[in-house]
Symmetry: C2
C-alpha cells in the first residue's frame, strides 16, 4: 500500500514509518519538521507542511491508498490553556482531511485517539470501548469529536477506518516537550541529574504501552478489513511510584522527585481493556514495562536532550 | 434571577423569554436580529450582537446570574455542507462563552442540546440519556462536543449546568428557514397552497414537542439545583405520514406532498425517554400533538410568511 503518515516525523510516527516499511509499504510522511533524532530514512518521501494547509494535504494525498493520522499539536496537560487553538488546529484540520480524502478517493484511515483521556474518570476498570466518553481535558474532547466525524464519514460515505485509543505511550525517540509522558520525563531528568515534578501522592496509575507495540497496532489496523474503535494499551496499570521504582532499578540512580498537589484534570486511575484489539485486530502489546524502560534508557542515557 | 437568553429572539427563545418573565425573572436577550413576528417585549433588554463577538458577550454577562444558551447558527439537515462553519460559529463560540462566564463569576448555565441528532440511529427506543452518542450530522457532533466542554467546566470549575436534549420542537413563531421542522414546514406550505418535500416513505418517526413545553423545561432547569443532562420531548413518536394526516384534519386541507428518496443523515426512528426530566426537573410535556398543531395553525393561517 502507499501510506501517508501524518505526523510521521514525531515520536510514535517514526516507529509507525519503520513498521510500515518493514511490511513493504510505500511511505510518505507529512509533518512540521524533520525527525529530531534521526536523518531522513532512505526510501521515505518527506513533505514539510502544516496539517492546517489544505494544499499540502492535497499534494500529499496524491497516489495514496491509506492515511495514518497521528498529528496532534496539543498535549493533554496543557490543552485546557487554549481549547480554541486545540479545536482549530486538530479538529478543524481533521474535518478538512476527511473531506479531502473523499475528494481524492482515499478510503482508508487509521486514527490515533486517546485511551488515556477520552473516558475521563473511568467508572469501572479495565475500561472497555463502550464506556461513556467523559473527557476532562480539551485534548480528550477534541479526540472524541474527531472520532464522531470519522464515524459519520463511515456511515454516510463508506470510509474504512480504524480508531486506536492509545493509552500512555513511551519509548526511545520521544523528545522532552513540556511534561508529557512520565517515563520519558523521569528518564530524561535522570540523565541530567534533575528532579521530576510529580502531582499528587504517586498512587495514580496509568496504562503504559511501549511505542513499538503502538506502531504494530497501526500495522495491524491497516491490514484489517474491520472498521471500528479499539483500545491499545498494555492492559496493565502501574502507579507513578511503581514507575519511579523501576526507573531507579534500571538506571541504578535514585530519581529526584518534587512532589506537588494533585491537578484537577488528571485522571486518578486508568487501565484499558484491550481484548477487542486482540480478538479483531490480532494485536496485543508484547513488551513488558521493564523491557520497555530498559530499551528507552539504553537509547537515552548517552544522548543529548532535544 | 437576572437571566441572559442567548438566542432569545429566535423561535424557542421568544417562548423562553415569555416563560422567564412570567416567573418574575429579569431578562436580557442577545441575538443577531429582532424577533420576526413580534415587537420588542416591554421590560426585556435586547442586545444585538453576534455570538462570536466576545465583547458583546462580556457586555451581556454584566449583572447576569444565569445564562440560557439557545443559539445555533446551523440546522441538522444542512450542517454537513460546511462542518467547519458549524464548529467555528457554534463550538468555538460556546467554549469562549464558558471562559467568559468563569471570568465574570456567572455560574449557572442551561444549554439546549439536540435529542433528535445526538444519539444518531438509536439502538433501543425510547432513548435514555445514557445511550451512546453516535451523531450522523455535524449539528449533532458539535452539540456533543459542547456538552463535553460544559461537563468539563462543571468538573474542573464547578459550573452549575443543565443540558436539555430537546427532540423536535414545533409551534407558533417559527420562521420558515430552509427545511427545518416538518410540522411548521407542512403548515406554512398549506397556508401557501404549496407542496412539501418528504424524504423517504413517510414511515420514519420523530418525537415532536410543543415549543411552550420546551420553554417550561428551561424554567424548570433554571429552578433546579441539580446538574445533569435530560431528554426533553413528548416521549411519543409520530410518523411523517401520521403528522400529514393530523395536519390535514386540523387545516381541513389535504397537504400536497412531493416524495423524494430517503437521505442518509436522517435517523429512521427516534423517541426520547423523558422520565429523568419528570423525576429530577419535575417537568413533562403537557401539550398533545393535536392541541399543539391546532395552536400553530391558528397562529399561522392568516399570517404572512417570514
Amino acid at each position: 500500500m502507499a501510506v501517508l503518515v501524518l505526523g510521521g516525523s514525531g515520536f510514535i510516527g517514526s516507529y509507525v514509518v519503520d513498521a510500515l516499511r518493514e511490511e513493504g509499504h510505500e511511505v510518505t510522511v507529512l509533518g512540521r519538521r524533520p525527525e529530531p533524532f534521526r536523518h531522513p530514512q532512505a526510501g521515505v518521501k518527506y513533505i514539510t507542511g502544516e496539517f492546517s494547509n489544505k494544499n499540502a494535504i492535497l499534494e500529499a494525498l496524491k497516489d495514496t491508498t491509506a492515511v495514518v493520522h497521528l498529528i496532534s499539536s496539543t498535549i493533554p496537560s496543557t490543552s485546557n490553556i487554549d481549547p480554541v487553538l486545540d479545536i482549530n488546529e486538530n479538529l478543524i484540520s481533521t474535518v478538512n482531511l476527511l473531506q479531502l480524502m473523499r475528494d481524492c478517493n482515499v478510503n482508508k484511515l487509521i486514527f490515533l485517539s486517546s485511551g488515556g483521556t477520552i473516558y475521563g474518570v473511568p467508572e469501572k476498570l479495565p475500561v472497555v470501548e463502550s464506556h461513556k466518553l467523559k473527557p476532562i481535558c480539551s485534548y480528550g474532547i477534541v479526540k472524541a469529536a474527531i472520532e464522531h466525524y470519522i464515524e459519520m464519514e463511515h456511515f454516510l460515505h463508506g470510509l474504512n477506518y480504524v480508531i486506536l485509543r492509545v493509552s500512555n505511550p513511551y519509548g526511545p525517540r520521544q523528545a522532552r516537550v513540556g511534561v508529557q509522558g512520565l517515563i520519558n520525563t523521569l528518564l530524561w531528568n535522570t540523565v541530567r541529574c534533575q528532579s521530576t515534578k510529580i502531582w499528587g501522592d504517586g498512587n495514580s496509575s496509568r496504562d503504559y504501552v511501549y511505542v513499538e507495540d503502538v506502531a504494530q497496532a497501526c500495522v495491524s489496523a491497516l491490514a484489517s478489513s474491520h472498521c471500528g474503535t479499539y483500545n491499545v494499551g498494555s492492559g496493565k496499570g502501574q502507579t507513578v511510584n511503581e514507575i519511579i521504582e523501576v526507573v531507579g532499578e534500571i538506571t541504578k540512580k535514585k530519581p529526584s522527585i518534587e512532589r506537588l498537589p494533585a491537578r484537577g484534570f488528571d485522571v486518578p486511575r486508568i487501565v484499558l481493556d484491550c481484548t477487542a484489539a486482540a480478538r479483531i485486530l490480532k494485536w496485543q502489546a508484547a513488551t513488558s514495562i521493564t523491557a520497555g524502560i530498559h530499551e528507552t534508557w539504553e537509547w537515552m542515557k548517552d544522548r543529548e536532550e532535544k
